[in-house]
C-alpha cells in the first residue's frame, strides 16, 4: 500500500472504531478542506450505508459567504443531517471579532458555542479534523482525546494509546474527541483532495478579491460588516486562503495558484506553516494549548 492508501485506511479504521464504541457520535464540519477530507472518508468508511452520525457546524456567523454556499452544496450531496449551532447569548450581545477582539470572539462564539452544542445534544464522540503537524501542542494529542466534564483537556491525564487499540470507554460526563487525520500533513490533505477530486470552497483557489492589509496580513472584505479604519481602502489582489475560518480572522496569501496542481506546487515550495494565517494562534505564547484546555477544538 502506498502512503495515501495507508493514511486513508488508518482514518477509516479510526472512524469505524469510534462509531463502534459510541453512544451518540457527531462529526464537526467546519467547511474547510480538512472537513472535506473527513467527510469524504466518513462516506467511504460506512458505504453503502450513510455515515451513522450527523454533521455539526458551530457557526460564528462570521464565516466567508462562499463557505455557507459550499456547506449547502455538501449537505445536499452527502444526504447527511446538518446541525448548525450559534451561541445565542453571543449573538444577542453582538459579539464580533472587531469590537471584542479575536480572543474573546473565539472564546464566546467557538469554544463556548461548541460546548453548548455538545451538551445540548449529548454527543459522546466528536470527530474533528485536527492534524498533529499543525501546531506544537497538537503533536502530543492522542487520536482519541478525552475531555472531562466541561470539555476540558488535561494534557497530563491523557490515556496511553498503544498500537491501533483505541480505548473508547468513557465515564459519565466524559466525552471523546476523535481525530482521524492525526497523521496527515497539509501536503497530504492537498494531494488527497486532488487525487480523489473532492470539492472544496473556491476561496482556496487564487482570484482577484477585495482585501486590506492589517498587521502585515491580507484580510478579505467579505461583507459590509467589516469596519474600515481611516485611510483603509480595499484593493483587488490575487489572493487565496490556505486555511478558512472567520473571515476577519483569516489572512489570505498573495498567490497566482488557480488550480489544484498549482496549489500543491505552491504548498510544496512554501516557507511558512499554514496556521500562520490564523490570527488566534499567536495571541500569547502557548495560546493554542490554553484554548484547548478550555475546550477549543
Amino acid at each position: 500500500m502506498n502512503h495515501y492508501q495507508q493514511l486513508e485506511a488508518e482514518a477509516i479504521e479510526i472512524m469505524r472504531e469510534a462509531v463502534a464504541g459510541a453512544r451518540k457520535p457527531v462529526m464537526m464540519y467546519s467547511i474547510g478542506k480538512d472537513s472535506s477530507v473527513m467527510l469524504h472518508l466518513a462516506r467511504k468508511a460506512f458505504y453503502p450505508a450513510p455515515p451513522p452520525f450527523p454533521l455539526l457546524h458551530v457557526d460564528t456567523t462570521w464565516k466567508f459567504q462562499a463557505m455557507y454556499a459550499h456547506r449547502k452544496r455538501m449537505v445536499e450531496e452527502s444526504g447527511m443531517e446538518l446541525l448548525v449551532h450559534t451561541n445565542p447569548e453571543g449573538l444577542k450581545a453582538g459579539v464580533n471579532p472587531f469590537t471584542h477582539g479575536s480572543s474573546y470572539h473565539t472564546d464566546v462564539m467557538k469554544t463556548q458555542a461548541l460546548r453548548q452544542a455538545l451538551d445540548h445534544h449529548g454527543f459522546d464522540v466528536v470527530f474533528g479534523g485536527a492534524r498533529r503537524d499543525e501546531e506544537k501542542s497538537r503533536a502530543k494529542e492522542r487520536i482519541f482525546s478525552f475531555r472531562s466534564a466541561g470539555h476540558r483537556w488535561d494534557p497530563k491525564a491523557q490515556r496511553p494509546e498503544l498500537w491501533n487499540l483505541y480505548n473508547t470507554r468513557t465515564r459519565p460526563d466524559e466525552t471523546i474527541r476523535v481525530f482521524p487525520l492525526s497523521n496527515w500533513t497539509e501536503l497530504d490533505i492537498w494531494q488527497y483532495l486532488h487525487v480523489e477530486k473532492i470539492p472544496i470552497v473556491p476561496l482556496y483557489f487564487a482570484a482577484e478579491r477585495p482585501v486590506v492589509k492589517r498587521g502585515g496580513m491580507w484580510i478579505m472584505v467579505d461583507d459590509h460588516r467589516m469596519p474600515l479604519e481611516p485611510g483603509e481602502k480595499p484593493e483587488m489582489r490575487m489572493v487565496r486562503f490556505r486555511t478558512l475560518g472567520c473571515y476577519p480572522l483569516t489572512a489570505a496569501i498573495e498567490s497566482p495558484a488557480t488550480t489544484m496542481e498549482e496549489i500543491i506546487a505552491e504548498t510544496f515550495n512554501t516557507v511558512s506553516s499554514e496556521r500562520q494565517g490564523r490570527l488566534i494562534d499567536s495571541d500569547t505564547p502557548g495560546s493554542m494549548e490554553k484554548k484547548k484546555q478550555e475546550g477549543y477544538f
Binding site: M1, N2, H3, Y4, Q5, Q6, A9, E10, E13, R16, E17, V19, A20, R43, K44, A45, F46, Y47, P48, A49, P50, R132, D133, K136, S137, A139, K140, P155, Q158, R159, P160, E161, L162, W163, N164, L165, N167, R169, T170, R171, E174, N183, T185, Q191, H194, V195, A257, T259, E261, E262, I264, A265, N269, V271, S272, S273, Q276, P285, G286, E289
Partner: protein
C-alpha cells in the same frame, strides 16, 4: 528537494505515491541531545517553515539552553509546562520527509518514570534510535530503552552515539560503546543494528558525512533511514481480518468491515469465521463505490460472504486453511501504566484487536527489572513495572503470539471503574486451548445453554392446596439455588395472572388454559437452561400430566405439598377460605372444587410436620440430584 512546478505535478504525485512511510522512535533523554537530534532531522529535511524558524529564534532566547544559537530542542518540546521544566513528558509525533521516504517520529521521554510513554511510542514504530551520550557510554538507561523497544517488537536499532564533538571525535570511545552494546544486545534477535557516531548539535553524520570523523565509513543517519528495509517478511502470509463493524444498510446487504491485519484476500477465497469456526467463501471486497479484485495487509475494506453466517464485531475472518488459535487462558507480558497497582484476581476490560472481554490476571510469575532484566518476585505490579503473568478471559479470544503478529497479540487493559487504559500486554502463548470451540461450529441448543450456566435445567412443579406453603417453600428454594450460583425463575399466580394470563378467570376451562400456558412458559425456560420453579394449586391430574409430558426424562419434578386442608384453612393467609365458606368465592379448591392428589410425585412435603426451611432443603437435595 528541488523547486516544484505545477506542470510536473503528475510526476511529483507519482513520486509521492511510491514513497513508503517509516515510523521510528527516538530513545534517550534530553541530556543525550534527543530533542536536538529530532529538531536537526526536521531542519535538515527542510520541514521547518520560516515562521516556525522565526518563532524558534525568539523561543531560543526566552527558554533556550544554547545561548544565542538556535536551540533545536525547543522545536519539539511542545507543551508549555514541559518547555518551562526543560523536560519532555509525553509522546509527541513529528512528521518529515526526504526525497525517498516519509517519516513519523515518536518522541518520548527517557526517564524510568516514563517507561509507559516509551512503550506507547514503540508500539507503532518499526525502528528505534537509541541515543547515547559519547561521554557516558552505555548506561542503565540504555539497557532499559533497549529492553522496552525490543519487548514492543522492534527489530531494527540505530545506536546513535551522540556528542562525539565533546570526546574529540575519538574513534576508540565510539568503538568501545559499540562493542559494549553488541555484547549486551546479542540475545535480542535484532534484524539490523547500525551504530553511527554523531554530533547532532552541529549536524555531523546526520545528513552529511562528518569531516571530523573520517574513520567512520558507514552511512549517515539519513542515508540509513532512507534505505533500510524494514518489511517484516512474514514466513507465512495468512489472511486475517478482525471485524470492527457490521454494515447492514438494508436487508439485502451484510458487509463485514475491518482493516486487514495480515495477508491478502480475493473474491472466492475460502474463509473461516472465528471463534465460531464456520467456513464460507468471499463474495466481494467492497471499497466505497468499487469492488476490488484483491486487498492486502493494511487495507480497510468491507467483505461480503456467500453464505449467511453469523459474524459480529470482535470476530475474525481468516484464511480457512490456516486459522489462528482461540484460547481463554494465556501467558502474557504486561507493562503496568496506572498509578493504582495491578492486583491479580481483579477484573479488567481487555481489548485485543476488536474484541473486548473481561480478563483477570491469575498469577504474576515474575517481575522483570527494567534496568537489569533480573527476575523478581512480585505480588502486585506498580506503575511502569513489567511482569510475565498468566491471564484468563471470560470468553475465548482469537489471537496470535505477539512475536508472530503484533496486531493480533497485543492488548490493552482498561480499568472498569475509571475507564482508563491501565496496562499494555503481549500474548506469549495460550495455556489452555479452546480448540473444541473453533474447529466445528456448534449449534446453540439447550445443552449448550445449560452448559454455559453450569447446571442441569429442571422444572420443579409445586402442587397443593391454597395455604399449603407452596410459595413459601418455592421462595426459600429459589434463594438457596441463587446463593449457589444457579440460574432460576419462579412462576406463580402473582407474576403470571397479572400479565400473561390476565385474560383468564377461574372457570374450569380458564384454569386449564392457565396451567397450559404456565407449563409452556416453564418449558421455554428450561430450554433456555434455567431451573424453573412453578407454584400453582394445579388441582387436576390431567393438567399436571400434560405439563410433565412437555419435558424430557428427569426434567420435571413434581412436589406435592400435602399440608392437610384443616391446617391450610386455619392459616388462611389471604382470607380466601373464609370467603369461600361464605359462598362469595366459587370453584375454590378443597371447598366446592376437588383437589386430585398426585400418585407419583417425586417428593411429598408437609409444612405442618416440617418447617418450610426443612422442606426447601429436601427439595434442594432432589433438584441437585443428591
Amino acid at each position: 528537494m528541488g523547486e516544484l512546478h505545477a506542470k510536473n505535478i503528475g510526476e511529483y504525485l507519482e513520486e509521492q505515491r511510491r514513497k513508503e512511510t517509516l515510523r521510528f522512535i527516538t530513545c534517550g533523554s534530553v541530556d543525550d541531545g534527543k530533542s536536538t537530534l529530532i529538531g536537526r532531522l526536521l531542519y535538515e529535511s527542510k520541514c521547518i517553515f520560516d515562521d516556525q524558524l522565526k518563532a524558534l529564534e525568539s523561543d531560543s532566547k526566552r527558554y533556550g539552553t544554547t545561548g544565542e544559537k538556535i536551540d533545536f530542542a525547543l522545536l519539539v518540546d511542545g507543551l508549555e509546562a514541559e518547555r518551562e521544566q526543560g523536560i519532555t513528558i509525553d509522546v509527541a509525533y513529528r512528521f518529515f520527509a526526504t526525497d525517498r521516504r516519509r517519516y513519523i517520529v515518536a518522541d518520548t521521554p527517557g526517564h524510568e518514570q516514563y517507561t509507559r510513554n516509551m512503550a506507547t511510542g514503540a508500539s507503532t514504530a518499526q525502528l528505534a534510535i537509541l541515543l547515547i551520550d559519547a561521554r557516558k557510554g552505555i548506561l542503565p538507561q540504555t539497557r532499559r530503552h533497549h529492553r522496552i523497544v525490543t519487548m514492543m517488537g522492534i527489530r531494527h536499532i540505530v545506536l546513535a552515539v551522540n556528542k562525539m564533538d565533546l570526546v574529540n571525535h575519538d574513534e576508540a570511545v565510539y568503538r568501545k560503546i559499540e562493542a559494549d552494546y553488541r555484547e549486551f544486545a546479542k540475545d535480542a534477535h535484532l534484524a539490523t543494528l547500525q551504530p553511527i557516531p554523531l554530533a547532532a548539535v552541529h549536524g555531523d553524520n546526520v545528513m552529511k558525512a562528518s569531516g571530523n570523523m573520517p574513520w567512520y565509513q558507514g552511512p549517515t543517519l539519513f542515508e540509513h533511514l532512507d534505505t533500510i528495509d524494514v518489511s517484516h517478511k512474514a514466513t507465512r502470509e495468512a489472511f486475517r481480518l478482525p471485524i470492527q463493524w457490521v454494515n447492514r444498510p438494508n436487508l439485502n446487504y451484510r458487509g463485514f468491515c475491518g482493516r486487514i491485519a495480515e495477508g491478502k484476500v480475493r473474491p472466492g477465497d475460502k474463509v473461516r469465521i472465528l471463534p465460531s469456526g464456520r467456513t464460507t467463501t468471499v463474495k466481494s471486497i467492497d471499497f466505497f463505490e468499487q469492488e476490488l479484485a484483491e486487498a492486502e495487509e493494511g487495507a480497510s475494506i468491507t467483505l461480503t460472504l456467500n453464505e449467511e453466517v453469523d459474524v459480529s464485531r470482535g470476530d475474525l475472518i481468516v484464511a480457512a486453511d490456516s486459522p489462528p488459535e482461540v484460547a481463554d487462558q494465556f501467558q502474557v507480558r504486561i507493562l503496568w501504566m496506572a498509578e493504582e497497582a495491578m492486583v491479580p484476581g481483579r477484573s479488567y476490560w481487555l481489548k485485543m484487536h476488536t474484541k473486548e472481554v473481561t480478563a483477570t490476571v491469575m498469577e504474576i510469575k515474575y517481575r522483570e527489572d527494567v534496568n537489569t532484566g533480573a527476575h523478581l518476585a512480585a505480588k502486585v505490579l506498580q506503575l511502569n513495572e513489567i511482569a510475565v503473568a498468566t491471564l484468563s478471559t471470560t470468553h475465548p479470544v482469537v489471537f496470535e503470539p505477539y512475536t508472530t503478529n503484533r496486531a493480533l497479540g497485543g492488548f490493552i487493559l482498561i480499568d472498569k471503574l475509571t475507564c482508563a487504559t491501565v496496562g499494555a500486554g503481549m500474548v506469549e502463548f495460550a495455556l489452555r486451548r479452546a480448540s473444541n470451540v473453533h474447529w466445528q461450529a456448534l449449534e446453540v441448543n439447550r445443552q449448550q445453554r445449560a452448559l454455559i450456566k453450569h447446571q442441569t435445567p429442571r422444572c420443579v412443579w409445586f402442587t397443593g392446596l391454597s395455604g399449603s406453603g407452596k410459595s413459601t417453600v418455592a421462595n426459600l428454594l429459589e434463594k438457596r439455588l441463587h446463593a449457589e450460583g444457579r440460574h432460576t425463575y419462579l412462576l406463580d399466580g402473582d407474576n403470571v395472572r397479572h400479565g400473561l394470563n390476565r385474560d383468564l378467570g377461574f372457570t374450569e376451562a380458564d384454569r386449564v388454559e392457565n396451567l397450559r400456558r404456565v407449563a409452556e412458559v416453564a418449558k421455554l425456560m428450561v430450554d433456555a437452561g434455567l431451573i424453573v420453579l412453578v407454584s400453582f394449586i394445579s388441582p387436576f391430574k390431567a393438567e399436571r400430566r400434560a405439563a410433565r409430558e412437555l419435558f424430557g426424562e428427569g426434567e420435571f419434578l413434581e412436589i406435592h405439598v400435602s399440608t392437610p386442608i384443616e391446617e391450610c384453612e386455619k392459616r388462611d393467609v389471604k382470607g380466601l377460605y373464609a370467603k369461600a365458606r361464605r359462598g362469595e368465592l366459587k370453584n375454590f379448591t378443597g371447598i366446592d372444587s376437588p383437589y386430585e392428589a398426585p400418585e407419583h410425585a417425586e417428593l411429598t412435603i408437609d409444612t405442618s410436620k416440617q418447617s418450610p426451611e426443612e422442606c426447601a432443603l429436601a427439595v434442594l437435595r432432589l433438584v441437585e440430584g443428591k
